[in-house]
Symmetry: C2
Subunit: 393 residues, 2 copies
């Protein structure tokens, strides 16, 4: 089957997470992604878990599958020349240096545009390409903090807590891929290339949800509230016999069913709980305690079955092993395998976007350091040797 | 300035969050989005915060800006006829019913494809269009739970906690918009339409990061660990005089600078802290306590300035008001204004993806219920009146 992005050439200068996650998606759907790393390898080649035998990073491997890889020292004259040659016929360039660095390296959009006017130049970063703190370095935790996410996550009684996985990096990477596609579609219509700029700070800020409008409409500064939703009730995580379950009862009709299901049909007639708005205001303590009490007598599997039968949105809190082994994840090919030349069998997440005619696919492992130098730069063995000695490759 | 998606017609059947967030992005970048709601209005019209005067939902308003709106009863024969007519020349249809419902309504992809073979038919849902639990209803909290996110978020000592904002819904919406663009680009090349299927369960699963490979490579089931990163140290959130700051000291070079900055240059010579690996193993309790002690004497603003000067990734934990008012958010137009006909001034998040040539824009408020019935269906006043009486509009 053909893939959606077949025939597109992507030059990929990204490291660590947001940029590589973007180009991973482009590669999954068929673009030829040429990952250009510094000679020593990019930073996340050294991040755990590391394969005991080969020393390869599982972290690097999951986010760089389907890509080809080369090394290049952009701080040498020859390295820069090779780079300019490479981008001449590229469709897309993706980079995620912090603001200002591409200019220092002479690979900023203004420079590259002169070489290839139609290129889509996509930049992922902590703080974006303009704005008062564009220059700052950023890790996921900093973007989660400043974007307002950490303050909204955790229980009232404890300190604020970050989202476990690197949500700022991953979501910025998805936005960046979407930005590339918006620009690419526009180029298909108008012929014009452009720059795409996505910041992790903006990314987190954009998904604060009703906290934003709670403030702009009513001046309310939403505070973290554990698992309780401010606008839907009941909507919470409950402890049961062998773990936790999440329940979301989104409207009056569902609440009527839910009340009957847990053996309390009278709840719907209770003036405190008759509408969603009332339930939001009066959920704590009585309604919460009543549901907590009910859940204590069942396992998470039992509650899941009961609620499934009743049509109530419900699911167990799964750990990573349970999620990986879930038959739904398996059937939707959300776990894939590929064979790495030195690290052997690799298993990681599959392609989220299911396309009926041009599905994504994991068909190649991540590249070894400099594995495709020859192919990507079109060099002879002799030229390669010389460039290595000169510290260019 | 022209927009990237100008000229594209999107028929939007979505409700609540993941679907509307997808079509919001398409509308922000210039697509004509025609939102079709049930006669009583879609569910999130009733979700707070509600405008005191008009009763309009701030929640609905932020996620439905830039769209046109109509009502339609798809369960009537005439309603279905009007719908089939509407999709004839649409480029994209987006829906987020749970699996199986579109077939019942006779608006599934197989049916619509016969009317419009080139259409991009995009489906967002909790569990996707196939798989053993495709039929189940789902809210954000359920996808966060089953996808493995809740189990990885929170402190060791407390119960697991969901991400405050609805991360499954928002991120599934972004993936869905990306899926639409992949399919649209492919159609521009090949002329072929297709179905796009994105599940919130898969979405959360896809961003579990190194937890996945920790398990597949080493059999380790990663547990929640508060704000501490297992593979970078120091990487944590610290309490200071007036709140909290996030700090990420990603490598030895940064740690040398950091140690000097907090007045403890000897740390780098301490055999417990000489490398990142050692620091990860020995961070708790001594190094953590030392940094905690240092932070207590400063405000978050002071720490931010000190670390900015030193080049250490650092940021304050901002609440929603502080994030909204941040000069960087302001300068990057991440807060926008529009005037709503009944709710008045509306302020919410702007467009994340900054495109240099075809920028996104918030140019119109969300539609009133049925506001564009006439325009969207091309009806006379008399026809409208009749259809309203018949319960079609």
């Amino acid at each position: 089957m053909k893939k959606a992005l077949e025939g597109l050439k992507v030059v990929d200068l990204t490291t660590a997470l947001n940029g590589p996650f973007c180009t991973m998606i482009l590669a999954d759907y068929g673009a030829e992604v040429l990952k250009i790393e510094p000679i020593e390898g990019e930073q996340c080649r050294f991040w755990g878990p590391l394969d005991e035998k080969s020393g390869e990073s599982g972290f690097y491997n999951y986010v760089n599958r389907n890509k080809k890889g080369a090394t290049l020292n952009l701080k040498t004259k020859k390295g820069l020349e090779l780079f300019y040659e490479l981008v001449k016929d590229a469709d897309i360039l993706v980079e995620n240096f912090r603001g200002g660095i591409t200019k220092k390296l002479k690979i900023d959009y203004e420079t590259i545009k002169k070489i290839n006017p139609a290129i889509i130049y996509a930049s992922g970063s902590g703080f974006g390409q303009y704005g008062p703190i564009t220059h700052r370095p950023c890790y996921d935790i900093v973007a989660q903090a400043m974007g307002g996410m950490i303050n909204l996550t955790g229980f009232k009684e404890t300190n604020p807590v970050k989202v476990g996985p690197s949500v700022a990096d991953h979501v910025a990477g998805i936005y960046l891929a979407l930005g590339v596609m918006l620009a690419l579609y526009n180029r298909k219509v108008t012929g014009v290339g452009q720059q795409v700029d996505v910041a992790m700070f903006d990314t987190i800020f954009s998904i604060l949800e009703n906290a934003l409008v709670n403030y702009t409409m009513g001046g309310e500064i939403t505070q973290r509230n554990g698992n309780v939703d401010p606008s839907i009730s009941p909507f919470d995580v409950y402890e049961c016999k062998d773990g936790f379950v999440a329940l979301g009862v989104g409207n009056d009709k569902l609440f009527r069913t839910f009340s009957a299901t847990i053996g309390h049909p009278e709840l719907m007639e209770d003036p405190r709980f008759a509408t969603n708005d009332l339930r939001c205001n009066n959920y704590i303590p009585d309604l919460q305690n009543l549901i907590r009490g009910w859940c204590k007598d069942y396992t998470k599997g039992e509650i899941e079955s009961i609620m499934d039968e009743a049509g109530i949105p419900c699911g167990p809190v799964l750990n990573v092993k349970e999620a990986i082994e879930h038959p739904h994840i398996q059937e939707r090919e959300m776990m894939v395998h590929c064979e790495h030349p030195t690290a052997g069998d690799q298993y990681f997440q599959g392609c989220v976007i299911k396309l009926s005619e041009t599905p994504g696919e994991v068909s190649a492992p991540s590249p070894l350091l400099g594995q495709h130098n020859r192919e990507i730069f079109g060099l002879t063995e002799e030229e390669m040797k010389k460039l290595k000695e000169e510290g260019v490759l």
